[in-house]
Symmetry: C2
DNA sequence: AACGACACCGCAAACGTTTGCGGTGTCGTT
DNA sequence: AACGACACCGCAAACGTTTGCGGTGTCGTT
């Protein structure tokens, strides 16, 4: 056991011909006689010859591998994106190499370097929350590695991007709250240096203004994780008498907020209506089922990897950067059904 | 732009020395004079030289890459395992190449082949539900690729394995139901050709017998996904009058069952107590919060990759296969708190 | 008889590294 | 003067492929 894999050289030696002939016979090159081809192909089949991908990669300096850098694997949205990527990549004959930055800038930088060292054909990437500069990304691009961003994309970098229309999405969500009668809406917001956090806040503000409501900065709290909700529970409960609606930047924040409110006998949606953003499986499992804005991770992954493969395989044609914007859809459930 | 990466040859040519000297200077080999070392190292630093991983891999036929084959990425348990793997692997200097079989045997076979072609140093794997034969795995092992299974492992294959003690886990869960007064307990079971499904059923049966209950085969339904619960809703509701407890093979099945029961005005836990298996974030979000058996995905991933790395780096010492059994812990929540 | 056309195959270099081995040059010692 | 010890460096082969180029052999044609 631990048998070494049979190589072209092995076949050549055993069959008494040169490695070049074996190589050509295997790929049906016209220079090789039918008799030799048959012999080589039959023998290769018999010994289960498989080309060594390492050698191929080195030769053509192409690896048929796509690198992925994302903030967290254990996160329903990102793992759906992964699933979408994987499906298309597999069908197109690419492998995927995955790195998670764990929302850490330094890790993101070293991941980018590792992918470059391994000569991946392209990189799919979503920024970590702690990333404020982009030299590691420019480094990839300067070395000819195509980069496509999904979800969290930097405005400063020219590249293909697949994002959802966060502005419109949160505008729709806020409009919905207003439509069912909410007048004082709290926004649990994401970090403002990520366009995603910023856009969602802007959509919220725009919806208020379109409805002639004055926008109250006190009704915006930076709070975008379950833990932050619990940390800010006092603050939120103190406002609970004033407000009648909450729009949270993501579902798990919305759900945690609902749990805090329910525990303090504040009824949802009768007292406060709540809407989230994302539509993972949690939304349907939550109590009450959470209204939210659907953010199709699988579709985002598929679109991103399609753009990347197109870029990779278009070789040296000039490449015009594309930004694909997915339009979000409102999913109304019981948390906003009075 | 699209600048090609600088190589040892480039450095050698520019500095007017041989590639061998550059190579040795970079790794501080004693044969090289301090002056040359300084010169090479300074220059390499300046031009940001990075070794080409492809060439290194070919040379030492080692890739510093770990292959992973798992059924689904979009699944909280598996994505936590991934996160656990990634953390340890990254710290140890390994990259990870991930393939999802999507519960499809053919895909699993071709994934295994792809990992072999890419000469990964080892494989971490959890079987798909449709895998009933193991030649693709034997093929890996026969070619000297260490394989470590996690969670879903075949009994027929000799290899390192990290599993949880499914038998004890479900025995504990069933005992708990009995302890709070349940006498007729329905088991929503997993597929019986996977040891995981089988063991959990056996634990359920053992708990019944230890308490002197007769075991009723009609109280076992093959049903281990949300969709299957909805498909079997009629059957389950028909039994709802007789039974007073449900032990489901996993959390999402348990939660779907609770939703079906609640919709038909059957109260939980007053009328029927429900317990699951897994303890993902869904359990705390469910209504009522779901009692379950904790199955630490992150820890499982970490243990599995540690075993694998140990195997990889022990080289040619004889390797005794280990099976690591993680002990599950009961998490009591409101779904079983009368 | 000589030449061209064609079929078929192998040499060698290349991708970017590493490393055993041998070679040169400079000392100090006898 | 000759030798040994040592420092320092380069050649060449190797990992497993691919591919341009050239080479040989067999025809048929004139």
């Amino acid at each position: 056991m631990a048998a070494h894999q049979v190589t072209i050289k092995d076949i050549a030696k055993i069959l008494g011909i040169s490695a070049s002939t074996v190589s050509r016979a295997l790929k049906d090159h016209p220079d090789i006689s039918p008799k030799t081809k048959k012999m080589v192909q039959a023998f290769a089949e018999k010994v289960q010859y498989r080309p060594n991908a390492l050698a191929l990669n080195l030769r053509r300096s192409k690896t048929n591998t796509i690198g992925i850098i994302l903030p967290e694997i254990v996160h329903h949205f990102f793992s759906s994106v992964l699933a979408g990527i994987d499906k298309i990549a597999y069908a197109a004959g690419y492998n995927v190499m995955i790195c998670q930055s764990s929302e850490d800038y330094d890790r993101e930088v070293s991941d980018a370097q590792a992918l470059l060292d391994n000569r991946v054909d392209g990189v799919l990437m979503s920024l970590s929350k702690t990333t404020h500069q982009y030299d590691h990304i420019r480094n990839l691009i300067d070395h000819g590695v195509p980069v496509v961003f999904f979800d969290r994309a930097p405005e400063e970098i020219e590249a293909d991007k697949v994002i959802i229309d966060d502005f419109t999405g949160s505008k729709i969500a806020t409009h919905h709250l207003i439509a069912i009668g909410c007048k004082k809406i709290l926004h649990l917001a994401g970090p403002q240096h990520l366009s995603i956090g910023q856009r969602r806040k802007e959509g919220y503000i725009a919806a208020l203004e379109e409805n002639g409501f004055s926008y109250n900065p006190e009704y915006i709290i930076k709070c975008d994780t379950r833990d932050e909700v619990f940390a800010n529970a006092g603050k939120i409960l103190k406002m609970a008498n004033e407000i009648d609606g909450i729009f949270a930047v993501n579902d798990s924040t919305a759900i945690a907020a609902m749990q805090v409110l329910l525990k303090n006998d504040i009824r949802i949606p009768e007292h406060i209506s709540v809407i989230g953003f994302g539509d993972g499986p949690n939304a349907t499992i939550a109590y009450p089922p959470l209204s939210t804005v659907e953010q199709k991770g699988i579709e985002m992954g598929q679109e991103a990897v399609k753009l990347l493969i197109k870029h990779i395989e278009s070789e040296n044609e000039i490449h015009a950067n594309e930004t694909k914007i997915l339009t979000p859809v409102l999913r109304i459930r019981e948390s906003t059904t009075k």
